[in-house]
Every structure is written in structure tokens, then in C-alpha cells.
């Protein structure tokens, strides 16, 4: 796996992502007002941007907000100063992951890891195996069970995709891993 702990090399795409600027923000809070998941966040989007503007990464990396965001892009679309808030969240999320600062209780991080393992195996997101991997990791077996059974009854979840592009994805993955390890 691409491991936590790998940092950004100079000129890398990660460094490029981390250079997205929060500087134009004047704290109008339009991002916060439009956020559909604000009630589940500990820091508001405007607070996240403000911390980053002060180059104060620590509270942002420790926040749950960066894991709550689903990148619906409402904030970015509405920002009058054209700050790409959603991309700042993305940068913070990658940085938190790479520096090993993901709290173990962040279920969404477990989901991301399961998604990537599943992708490495299948090359496509096979929903049923993905669900199994995720449930084994989180040991939360009952959640959404009724939903899953509803989908199975309608022939909408299956194991049987034999993906052909898996080898192509694996090759990309290995090439990125080698490049990132070489520049770390």
C-alpha cells in the first residue's frame, strides 16, 4: 500500500496540491452557510480556511471536518473570492493520511483503505467484496444490512464481475509507489 509517512517531494503532485492558496479568503462564511454536512463538523469550512491562511495546519489535520467533507463542491462553487475550499480539504486530508495522523475511529479512513485494497484486487470497485472488506476491518456487521439485502434481492450487488483492467491499474499503482518512494 501507499503508506502513511511518505511526504511530498519537491515538485511532486502532492506538493502542487498543498500549494493551493487560501489567501484570498475574507471570511464571508458563504462556504459554511451552504455546507450540507456542517452539523457534523468540529471546524467550519471558514475556520479551516482561516487556519490554513495563518499556516496553522495542526488543528486542521486533527479535525474531523476534513473526514466529514464529501467534496460536494458547494463551497468552492459559491466562494466569491474563488478560493478552492474543497481542494484545501483534499490537501489537508492527504497530508493527514500521509503523516499518520488519522484517528483510528475515523470510519471513513477505514472505508478509503478498503476501497483501495478492493481496487488493487479487482481494478474496479466491486461493491459486495468492498462491503465485506470494510465490515471485516470495522467489525461493524449490522449497519445497512437491510439495505444490502434489498439490493441483493434486486440483482444489484454481485461478486461476478471479472475485471479486465485490473492489471493496468496495478501497473499504475506500482509505478506511482516507486516514484514516491524514490523521491521521499
Amino acid at each position: 500500500m501507499l503508506s502513511p509517512g511518505t511526504t511530498a517531494g519537491n515538485g511532486s503532485v502532492l506538493a502542487h496540491l498543498q500549494s493551493v492558496s487560501p489567501n484570498a479568503c475574507f471570511q464571508c462564511n458563504r462556504c459554511t452557510a451552504g455546507c450540507p454536512l456542517i452539523s457534523a463538523m468540529d471546524l467550519t469550512p471558514a475556520q479551516v480556511v482561516h487556519h490554513l491562511l495563518l499556516e496553522n495546519w495542526e488543528p486542521v489535520l486533527k479535525s474531523n471536518s476534513i473526514w466529514v467533507c464529501v467534496h460536494c463542491e458547494t463551497c468552492t462553487a459559491r466562494c466569491p473570492q474563488e478560493v478552492d475550499i474543497s481542494k484545501l480539504f483534499h490537501a489537508a486530508r492527504v497530508t493527514a493520511w500521509r503523516s499518520g495522523r488519522v484517528a483510528p475511529d475515523q470510519a471513513i479512513a477505514t472505508y478509503f483503505a478498503s476501497f483501495l485494497e478492493n481496487l488493487y484486487l479487482y481494478g474496479r470497485s466491486a461493491e459486495l467484496p468492498l462491503t465485506v472488506i470494510c465490515k471485516l476491518k470495522s467489525q461493524d456487521y449490522l449497519r445497512d444490512m437491510a439495505l444490502g439485502l434489498r439490493l441483493i434481492a434486486r440483482g444489484r450487488l454481485n461478486f461476478l464481475n471479472v475485471p479486465k483492467g485490473a492489471a493496468i491499474y496495478r501497473r499504475l499503482y506500482e509505478r506511482v509507489r516507486q516514484k514516491e518512494e524514490a523521491s521521499a
Binding site: 503532485v13 450540507p36 493520511w97 470497485s125 445497512d144 479486465k164 499504475l172 514516491e180
Partner: protein, 293 residues
């Protein structure tokens, strides 16, 4: 005739197989040529980029390269998340020569000729321009709330799709097929997407807001263009009713199913029985018995 590379995306093979079937059948009915990208794999779904931004760009760009390799310069992606990934990666590669060089190195393919990425709504609008549609089934009794969701419409500078806050293209397409649509305010409001994995109750709250708004505007059906929107509004509708004591019974269609039915595509080819909220009575189809659970 235009040739389109077709990138179904993972969800259209499983959870949203009725979106895939109805889109292919509508295209066949209209004489539009779709050719599935050979050896396509996952677009990254916004997940891969969280762990490695470089891999997050290489994954969609390699898929576009596969389409280009087979001689296509335009690709259709029906899932909003795939569509968004392709548009975003294409833009980042185009805007920064250094990023482009790194991606080219990983995918081992030159990105000299961009592949245009289209959503079926854009493609159909273009293909049907100036054509008169032959309507076989009258759906004038429907009142459809067209739900566009997030990733199809935002960010506007990346996707450049319709009007960001008040899109109309799905409404116009359905209206051309004789299907009335309603004006409502939640058409681009987020359904919570995969946050359901962490906190299903929060997503039920958002789904309830969307369904309440649609019903309040007089809709008797919702049309969507994304598998995740469909999952949260249709398959979770019983949970919404259980959590809030509501009695929603709003069928949620992929817009391709409604278009297909209006144009006379045989209903077996639309996968309507796969929905949780049975939409067949509303369309007057006896059809396949819906699954109860």
C-alpha cells in the same frame, strides 16, 4: 455519425445496472453509436486521490488514454462521479505542464490530444438537436422533480455544465419527451453521498429534505443522473420513512428510464423492477413483480 467511447463506470455494472441498460437501449433506439472502452477500470472515484494525488490523476487519465488509443476523441460517462473525475483530471493536466509530464510518465501515454468528456445529458442534447422525438407512451400525468446533485454541476469552472445553481438540461430533455417537470429548490443540494457509510442518519436527514422539497413542489416522481443520488433517495427511502414517520412513496428514476419509456423502448430493457420504490404502477406497466422487503 458521431462515435462515442462509452465509460460505464463501476456502479453501472452493479448497483446501477438499470442506468446502464436504459442508457444503452435509449442510444440504440435513437441510432447513436456507443462503444465501451476496452479494458477500462475504476476512475478513482475521488477515493484514490485522497491517498496519492498523483495516482488520483493517473487513474482517470489512463482510462481516457485507453479511449484515445482506440481512436476516440469523445467519451460519455453517465456516473456523475466518473464524469467529475475525468473533467477535473483533464483540467489539471492541461493547466500545469509539470503535472502533465508526471502523469504522462506514469500512464506511459502522451496527452497531446485531449478526449472530450460528456455526460449523457450533454451528449443527448447535442444528438437530438433539431430532431423531432416520436413519443410512443404519453407520460403527461407525471410531475418530475429533476435532481442534478453535486458532481455533475460543480465546480462550474471544472465541469462547465449548464447553469450551476439552477440547471435546466434534464428538465428540457424530459419536457421534449412530453414529460412535465416541476420547479423546486433542492435540485443541486447534496444527498450526502458516501457519508452514509459513516453516519447513515445524517444522510437520511438530507434525503428527507430533498424528498420533502420535491413532494412539496407537487412532484410525483424524481429523476436522477447519478448512482449515489439514486441509492440515497430510492433504496434508503424506507429508512427515511421509518426514521421520520413520513410516508414518502416517490419513485426515483434514472432520466434515461423515463426518456426510454416515453420513446417506446420495451420496458424489459429499462430495469424498472430493480428499484426499491416500485415505479411501475405510476407508468402503468404491469411488468415484473416488484421485490418486497
Amino acid at each position: 455519425m458521431n462515435r462515442y467511447a462509452y465509460y460505464p463506470g463501476c456502479s453501472l455494472e452493479t448497483m446501477a445496472c438499470e442506468y446502464d441498460a436504459s442508457f444503452r437501449n435509449v442510444c440504440a433506439h435513437l441510432g447513436i453509436s456507443l462503444e465501451e472502452v476496452r479494458d477500462w477500470f475504476c476512475c478513482g472515484a475521488g477515493m484514490v486521490g485522497n491517498l496519492s494525488p498523483l495516482l488520483g490523476l493517473a487513474t482517470p487519465m489512463k482510462n481516457l488514454a485507453l479511449a484515445h488509443q482506440s481512436g476516440f476523441d469523445q467519451l460519455v460517462a453517465p456516473c456523475s462521479a466518473c464524469y467529475n473525475q475525468f473533467k477535473r483530471a483533464s483540467q489539471e493536466v492541461e493547466e500545469d505542464a509539470d503535472v502533465r509530464k508526471q502523469v504522462e510518465e506514469i500512464i506511459e501515454y502522451p496527452l497531446d490530444h485531449p478526449v472530450a468528456v460528456l455526460h449523457p445529458l450533454e451528449m443527448l442534447q447535442h444528438e437530438l438537436d433539431g430532431r423531432t422525438l416520436k413519443i410512443q407512451n404519453d407520460l403527461g400525468h407525471l410531475r418530475v422533480a429533476c435532481y442534478y446533485g453535486c458532481l455533475l454541476t460543480r465546480p462550474p469552472k471544472v465541469v462547465n455544465f449548464d447553469q450551476c445553481e439552477d440547471p435546466q438540461s434534464m428538465d428540457r430533455l424530459l419536457q421534449r419527451a412530453g414529460i412535465p417537470t416541476v420547479n423546486w429548490s433542492r435540485k443541486t443540494f447534496c444527498c450526502g453521498a458516501f457519508y452514509a457509510i459513516v453516519n447513515p442518519s445524517k444522510v437520511l436527514e438530507l434525503a428527507r429534505e430533498i424528498l420533502t422539497d420535491a413532494a412539496g413542489a407537487g412532484a410525483n416522481a424524481v429523476a436522477v443522473a447519478c448512482p449515489v443520488c439514486h441509492l440515497n433517495l430510492d433504496a434508503r427511502q424506507p429508512e427515511v420513512n421509518a426514521a421520520y414517520g413520513t410516508e414518502f412513496h416517490l419513485p426515483v428514476f434514472y432520466f434515461t428510464q423515463l426518456l426510454g419509456h416515453a420513446l417506446g423502448v420495451p420496458s424489459e430493457g429499462l430495469g424498472l423492477w430493480r428499484h426499491v420504490v416500485d415505479p411501475q404502477p405510476l407508468l402503468g406497466i404491469a411488468g415484473v413483480a416488484a421485490v418486497r422487503s
